[in-house]
Symmetry: C2
Subunit: 335 residues, 2 copies
């Protein structure tokens, strides 16, 4: 049986109210009783029951992290940033995701908001609409949106358009004019923004956008990359529209799959065809040639997110802030 305030009160000859005040360091308690109560608490190895405390104070000291799917390197790095800076802050983080639960993201939002387990949330998703996110505002649940800009909530996001622009401009400056681009049909990847950056660079250099140079992957995987690489090589052989460089906002694994397939088919990277990825996964450094890619500052985003949300929760700050991070272009050998 867990030891409660009552146990301590009984043993100390005071009431639970007094014990509670001692435990919470409230003023107006005599030094002597304070010492006695504290000693007994330690002796009995007392831990406050956070559930009961939460009921009484309407504060749980818990932050929810809401994600579509935890099985993503992107999200894990952000989580790492969150946990890393949680430090002394006495908060517990609770992970919510839709995985395997057969519910929509909005259902999950409702659950998180109405269940009452958390004091605030960090929502990491680019696939929810403002209409859905509105729920947090409506129910006055402190919330930080990570991954895209929002007009109605605090948000932390990366300038992916700028990241793509930098990458593509780099390719153009190297002399490339036919630059293929790999997209993927995953809503929470901000893929449209990334394509915009690609177009920006083209426009700036007066290079026409050509839809034949857009390749679609079904997921960010090496097999998809290999498949697309073959498609490109075949197009090369039939002559026209031969890309001399590929930019893969769909992700690094696709880019890596392409590199490996290009090499297998006898092409030299980056001489015959340059490749640029997106994400900077660990394998990007391993592939030969090492992958030039775009990195998002995930740890920093997680760090900022947890700090912001705790501020919101504790200070009741109501202003809507948003913070943009720059994507970092990592130049290695593949381009």
């Amino acid at each position: 049986m867990a030891v409660t305030l009552k146990d301590i009160a009984l043993k100390a000859g005071v009431t639970t109210a007094t014990v509670s005040m001692v435990i919470n360091n409230k003023p107006n308690i005599s030094e002597t009783t304070k010492k006695r109560v504290l000693a007994i608490a330690r002796e009995l190895n007392y831990y406050p029951n956070v559930i009961a405390r939460g009921l009484a104070t309407k504060r749980n000291n818990a932050i929810g992290v809401v994600v579509p799917n935890i099985a993503s390197g992107f999200i894990m790095r952000i989580m790492e940033g969150i946990k890393n800076t949680l430090r002394n802050a006495n908060y517990t983080v609770i992970l919510f995701d839709t995985i395997g639960q057969g519910i929509t993201e909005y259902n999950l939002f409702q659950k998180v908001v109405y269940e009452g387990r958390v004091d605030g949330v960090i929502v990491i998703t680019a696939s929810s609409s403002d209409a859905e996110l509105e729920l947090f505002k409506k129910e006055k649940m402190p919330c930080i949106l990570v991954a895209k800009h929002s007009a109605i909530l605090d948000s932390i996001y990366v300038n992916n358009r700028g990241g793509s622009y930098t990458a593509v401009k780099y390719l153009i400056d190297k002399g490339h004019r036919n630059i293929g681009v790999v997209t993927v049909n995953r809503k929470n990847l901000n893929i449209e923004e990334r394509l915009d950056g690609y177009r920006d660079a083209l426009v700036e250099k007066s290079i026409p956008f050509r839809s034949e140079l857009v390749y679609e992957a079904t997921s960010d995987s090496m097999t998809d990359g290999a498949h697309l690489a073959n498609k490109i090589i075949n197009a090369r052989q039939s002559g026209d529209n031969v890309p001399t460089a590929i930019f893969s906002p769909a992700g690094d694994m696709t880019a890596i799959g392409m590199i490996k397939e290009f090499k297998k088919r006898g092409l030299k990277i980056p001489e015959d065809i340059a490749v640029v990825g997106y994400d900077d996964v660990p394998a990007a450094e391993v592939v030969e040639p090492a992958l030039t890619t775009v990195r998002q500052p995930k740890l920093e985003m997680g760090d900022l997110a947890i700090n912001l949300i705790i501020d919101k929760v504790e200070k009741g700050d109501k202003t809507i802030e948003s913070r943009e991070f720059a994507a970092k272009f990592i130049i290695r050998e593949s381009a």
Copy 2:
């Protein structure tokens, strides 16, 4: 303001007790009031406050996952398995780790047990002693230990000794007699077990164990691998004790770093020196030659862990079970 049982009761003209019984699908409620209450609950968009419910029932529908550090691919894959099969089971998972909190693992155990937030825990660590783990038993907190065998708690673990044995035997069968082994000083890696497997294979084939063939990494990283590779090459040049194969129970990244450095120094893999890793990280498939390695069935372990713990929590099962998984030897090109 969140809607409570009281709100529904008021509107339905019954008491909170009745509403509670309806919500929880208790028997002996007339169909008519049931329907009416349910309709109003839906209309008001009622969600039970899980904190209050937890206090009343002493059940939180929450499982704690306790880890030393979430920033590990191993743990993330297990988490993925856990979340994946959580499915309809109406449980929330709460992540606890010691990262950046300046507390010991045992302090964390205490927090988890005494705070009362969770009904059961999955502890993923190989670095805690039985004496520390005893706490869960003592306080009757249902617990599954993942990563090593335990006599006092349910446990799920991988036969790492067998996995190492298989890998090293494979090298021996390929004709290798001087097999280097890379260790790392990280307690929660079960490194000793893995070394035992290495020794087992040696003993079986009557090959003497030689401590000069043991190399120590400081972490599982490419830079450590490169460093060790150079050490080995230098030893080669001075003549004696030249390993013709390397087994890296310290992890794949170290093995990959070695491969890249060996290649840079002009050695051919696996002809001049064979390399076998441990873990099967995504990059293992990317390096050239692709890394032969040992994989632990992480998803399956997570799956079993969550099923077991929910059973324990719900059925109050008291027997101590343990389940061993076999490690899988993945043969690629580096050996």
